[in-house]
Symmetry: D2
């Protein structure tokens, strides 16, 4: 259950007049982190939805330690908290190029059947993909 | 075919580090303008989609004259360019509280059947609602 | 320390392909809530910044109970948690038109001197304005 | 004056309930395109601002041909229209992985002195960097 790391540059649009990344925009960075975390196991979130399972966020917590600025090359480190059941929980750390910790966060998502709109267990193929590594 | 006017305050999230509204965010203001333009005729864009017709944007042009700043009370003036056919075209002007013209814009949207994903003509009930005024 | 309530419609841009408001966008709704909470006491966040004090978010937690959909008329209820010191803490509840609780949230912001970029206490005029009510 | 190409994946947050990228979000893609176009000449837009020159967008036009969907690997091709003077003009084409043209666009930005807030000519070092290639 190691950290998976992605990197990208802060967009101008993501800053606010304080001259730093608007706090709400980090939600998108966390989303990118967990999508790539899944992809490393061969699991595409896009295909998951195409197969009728969606993953709405039910909980998000973010602690902001230091600001990110425009054009910063950020890294999101994503870690699974524990094996998923009806929900999947991630921990995140976001760093800048100087390896300073900017944000420490936690997100929980629920597995939902898109037809019935009811919670379900994590699909077996996802559990197998994650465990196989 | 008068202008329809809506007003709202600039959100902090909508500014960028230049200390003004990020230019891309005006697309949302135009969207709000035309949705309320339709609502004044008793036409809900939400119901239109629920009835299988969607209106993707096919063209957008914006001329930026002056910047909007945080907490500004903006007005969007929306005007129909001509009676809709397979597309519907709007003109917009955005003003601040001092009545300065900030943005002058134009947007064209296509009527699409959501089932076939093909262009269609403007639904009759929309044409009637618009003409009735 | 009653709840202050604001209302507004969900923008199309704020939805995602799940057909609901993207979870990250609620950060903007909370921002609007606390800005209007301050304004009712005659405190303008904009002027506060113009006078050299900024309020970066240092903590945000959101629990998502139910989804908001496009065109929903949402209400944000904002409540001060306790009298502000070096930080100011708010609690929020977001409801739809059917008075269903959609999101329950908490945000903490730090008072910062923009010149020194260091934490300061809540300005006296803010404390007085809040207490006077 | 060749095209400069960047690639990135569509974020979930960037989609709307039509199941495609919200048209307003393409403004950010164009911004990323021209920032990287500049960087290939050794010109950092961030440093340009730090040296007192900003580049507000004064005109934007987008023609939407086909939709981008979630997780698409998009490419933005950026091309300078002509040598910059008091403004700099770019042309853009956005493609998906199947090399389908999704958006064709044009953006003009003005060189502004951040101290005087008045238009200026394109800085010499930028002209030289661009011409040197």
């Amino acid at each position: 259950m190691d950290f998976n790391k992605i990197s990208f540059r802060v967009r101008y649009a993501e800053t606010d007049q304080m001259g730093v990344v608007y706090h709400g925009n980090y939600a998108q960075y966390l989303e990118m982190g967990r999508v790539e975390w899944l992809r490393q196991f061969g699991v595409s979130y896009k295909s998951m939805e195409e197969n009728g399972v969606m993953l709405p966020v039910i909980f998000m917590r973010m602690n902001f330690k230091k600001s990110a600025v425009y054009d910063d090359l950020l890294s999101v480190h994503t870690k699974l908290k524990k094996m998923p059941s009806v929900k999947i929980e991630f921990e995140f750390e976001i760093f800048n190029e100087q390896d300073e910790l900017l944000v420490e966060a936690e997100v929980a998502l629920a597995f939902m059947d898109m037809k019935t709109n009811r919670p379900i267990k994590c699909p077996d193929y996802v559990l197998e993909a994650i465990s196989a590594k």
